[in-house]
């Protein structure tokens, strides 16, 4: 293994740059180093002006998503050695406006999130009862996968529909809605239907499945969307039937 590797990093400072440019930096290549370690080396040793987000460096806070050699990835969980001898291209996540260098704006997602009511809806207001709602391990399994989303936005960056249809709710928001719909304690599925079973909801998805391949946490948003399409289709059919036959 060579002892250095070149990172080609996208730079963009809206106050001075008309368009993004690429800048090369040479960083040490170590077995343990994630791409994020390379970026931190640049920031600490070579060029303090490079901007990017990170915090947990353990794949759980969802801050450090970027495009690494063309693919959306968490830079804290992607290792330089896997790209040796390099160079490695590091760019901001696709499909989002770039604020600065490797930092993208995710306001759109943050606005969409509350629309799917990602909280437990109960018709009865129990207050703080002194016992838990029972939920067996198989009932937990029903939605657990969809509860693993870290909001890292890799699936939006990978989604060809979101690229051309910015109104699309998108993979993570729909997976999260399903996380609550499928929770045995929730009673809000019908309230989420207005948002999900629409042209900007699940019907926008043409089932490409890129989101599921991009997801670093095994959430399978594509599966969530497909499953909801089935639910929505049966519900719509039923609504045409006379009352007694529903």
């Amino acid at each position: 293994m060579p002892d250095t590797i070149t990172l080609q990093v996208a730079r963009y400072r809206p106050d001075t740059d008309a368009a993004p440019t690429m800048q090369e930096y040479v960083v040490p290549l170590r077995q343990e180093w994630a791409v994020l370690d390379g970026l931190n080396y640049i920031k600490d040793q070579l060029d303090g002006t490079l901007s990017f987000r990170w915090s947990c460096r353990m794949g759980i806070c969802g801050s450090c998503g970027m495009t690494v050699d063309g693919d959306p990835a968490l830079t804290c969980g992607t290792f330089l050695a896997d790209y040796a001898p390099g160079p490695v291209r590091v760019e901001p996540l696709a499909n989002f406006p770039v604020i600065r260098d490797l930092v993208v704006g995710i306001d759109d997602f943050m606005r969409k999130l509350p629309k799917v009511k990602p909280w437990l809806v109960r018709e009865d207001e129990p207050g703080v009862a002194d016992v838990e709602f029972l939920q067996t391990p198989p009932q937990l399994d029903e939605y657990q996968q969809y509860s693993m989303c870290i909001n890292c936005m890799l699936c939006y960056a990978a989604c060809p529909v979101y690229a051309i249809e910015p109104d699309f709710l998108g993979p993570a928001a729909i997976a999260l809605a399903q996380r609550y719909n499928l929770d045995s304690r929730d009673q809000g599925a019908h309230q989420r239907m207005d948002v999900l079973a629409t042209a900007e909801g699940v019907w926008a998805c043409t089932y490409v499945g890129e989101c599921t391949s991009a997801c670093p946490k095994g959430v399978d948003p594509a599966g969530a969307i497909q499953r909801y399409k089935l639910t929505a289709a049966t519900r719509t059919l039923r609504s045409f039937l006379p009352r007694g036959e529903r």
Binding site: D47, S51, R53, S55, M110, W119, L134, D183
Partner: protein, 579 residues
């Protein structure tokens, strides 16, 4: 300038819990959450093992309280502990009703696991991603309250104080560089811990003690800053935590000879299955200290990233590991390229948690009217000289809620709004940031170099073991670093998402926090819990059964005073584990 009734600084577990408590206590109040990262990025997200609260039939509040008091080496306030253990079960049930996916027993009831220093199984868990689920549940629940306005990615640089009362904050909107006052009739600090003061830590990049320094500079004292927790099992190089739940499920700690060395340190005798409050389920201070002795005896293994011992999970088998500890397996595979089902995990003690923090009473009120604090930034204190694992998540719920309610009451009754002095302070702060930091391109040193030196200074002078000589040296070095910081460069002059400016402000905060740690550690001439002085061995209840309170004096140096510990039902006694 924008104004709200209450300003919550921080969108982690404590901040979100406080904000929800405020709007539930008084739905007319309007609340701001100002956070330097999106709430779901807050470091609560990384908590793995679980949250303690009495629920099992064979358990009792008194036992949880006793474990906490003895775990704290009697430095906690027992009235606070009693309130904590009494309210923790209701808080975890509330979380359950908000949708938290707690792990379950076959009949659908919530499951509990063992944890270090706890005599009963009382730690609720969501596999080994408890903090992640807790944070996302709180964040998603908070989305339904229209009275909550979020300032995501706004960095708070100063508290606004007039006539000894807090009126809000000054913050920078990172995306635009706009510097603005966000005012309120009460402020709740929920900014988390300060692990990044040390070089090797489980804490994320954002844990830089900002709130502690903000309060300290505004005149509110910090408490028990010498008590810094090392967790015994961090992965070398990254410092990523391997949760104590791994030992609670039955993992063993082995030295280089494959020997369960904790038996040599008065922590009990080995048995094949875990025994509560014994061996690998001892308290973190004692288990981390045992590592240092093993190292001195030459019984650790050297690696490029320091000496290690091994955590052995192999005998648990793939099924237990995959259902109870899936994240541990994921982290080991990804960051160490080893599979704990078949291989030993190399681990070493790593800075993990701050027992000290902003001094508050049992309702989160600080010494400064209008200022409240909760979560890791605060020191109530239920943790005393050593926190028990899984007490922190319930702490931030119980005291986040209490602080929220107290702040709501204060905001509803105190009818004063910020006056001209507050506006002038905000303008001053804007000028300081623009003049002193945004345009410092002629400096000689990098922020990162000073930060690295500070971190190594702290490890050398205020690590697991300290003495007067190391602490005095540390204090001198910190003074030198502060001077050098005044001349450091900020290359980045952009207003847009200037992370170098943030790093500079964080370093300035960390230097304050580091100084208070060293000052308190130097004054405490005894060994208690996580504070171990090699020149003053043994606990000294005569002189030091008391909290340290540290103030910023007029000359800009820390001044240490003392405050009695509250004892209700458990007089000081010997800490006994494994016997």
């Amino acid at each position: 300038m924008t104004s709200h009734d209450v300003v919550v600084v921080g969108g982690g577990g404590a901040g979100l819990r406080a904000a929800i408590a405020i709007v539930q206590a008084d739905p007319r109040l309007n609340v701001a959450i100002v956070s330097k990262v999106y709430p779901m990025r807050s470091h609560t997200v990384s908590a793995e093992g679980g949250a303690a609260a009495v629920i099992a039939a064979d358990d009792s509040l008194d036992e949880h309280a006793y474990d906490t008091v003895s775990g704290s080496d009697w430095l906690c306030d027992q009235d606070a502990v009693e309130a904590f253990v009494a309210e923790a079960p209701g808080e975890l049930l509330q979380l359950e009703h908000w949708g938290c996916p707690w792990s379950r027993m076959p009949d659908g009831e919530v499951a509990v696991r063992a944890f270090g220093g706890m005599k009963k199984m009382r730690t609720w868990f969501a596999a080994d991603k408890t903090g992640f689920h807790l944070l996302h549940t709180l964040f998603q629940t908070s989305l339904q309250y229209e009275q909550i306005t979020r300032y995501d990615e706004w960095y708070v640089t100063r508290l606004l104080v007039d006539e000894n009362r807090v009126y809000g904050v000054v913050a920078i909107e990172l995306a635009t560089g706009r510097i603005q006052a966000v005012t309120g009739r009460a402020v709740v600090l929920c900014t988390g811990g300060c692990g990044r003061v040390f070089p090797f830590t489980t804490n994320g990049n954002i844990k830089t003690g900002d709130g502690m320094a903000l309060a300290y500079r505004a005149g509110a004292p910090l408490k028990d800053m010498e008590f810094i927790q090392y967790h015994p099992t961090g992965l070398p190089f990254t410092g990523i935590l391997i949760t104590e739940a791994a030992r609670a499920e039955g993992g063993w700690l082995l030295n280089k000879d494959g020997y369960r060395y904790l038996q040599d340190y008065d922590l009990g005798t080995p048995s094949p299955t875990p025994v509560l409050r014994s061996m690998e389920l001892g308290p973190r201070d004692r288990v981390s200290q045992a590592f240092v002795h093993e190292q001195e005896k030459g019984r650790t293994v050297d690696t490029p990233y320091g000496p290690v011992v091994y955590l052995d999970l192999r005998h648990l088998g793939a099924k237990v590991i995959d259902t109870k500890l899936p994240f541990v397996r994921e982290l080991c595979l990804q960051y160490e390229r080893i599979d704990p089902v078949h291989e030993l995990i190399p681990v070493r003690p790593v800075q993990h948690y701050m027992m000290g923090g902003v001094h508050t009473d049992i309702d989160g009120a600080t010494g400064l009217p209008g200022l409240y604090a909760a979560g890791e930034v605060a020191c109530v204190s239920i943790n005393g000289a050593n926190r028990l694992g899984s007490n922190s998540l319930p702490e931030l719920l119980v005291f986040g809620r209490r602080a929220g309610i107290a702040a709501a009451e204060f905001a509803a009754t105190g009818n004063t709004d910020p006056g001209p002095a507050v506006r002038a302070q905000a303008a001053d702060e804007r000028r300081r940031l623009e003049r002193d930091l945004l345009a410092r391109r002629d400096g000689r040193e990098r922020i990162a170099d000073i930060r690295t030196e500070m971190q190594h200074t702290m490890e050398g002078s205020a690590g697991i073991y300290r003495d007067a000589a190391s602490l005095v040296k540390g204090a001198d070095k910190l003074r030198e670093l502060r001077e050098r910081f005044g001349k450091a460069t900020v290359e980045d002059a952009s207003r847009t998402f200037n992370t170098e400016l943030v790093a500079a402000l964080e370093l300035e905060f960390m230097l304050d926090v580091a100084e208070t740690m060293v000052a308190c550690a130097l004054c405490r001439q005894e060994s208690r819990g996580a504070h171990q002085r090699t020149d003053f061995r043994g606990r000294d209840d005569e002189r030091f059964l008391t909290h340290s309170l540290v103030f910023l004096d007029r000359a800009g140096s820390p001044r240490v005073e003392y405050l009695p510990v509250t004892i209700t039902r458990w007089p000081p006694a010997e800490r006994v584990y494994g016997r």
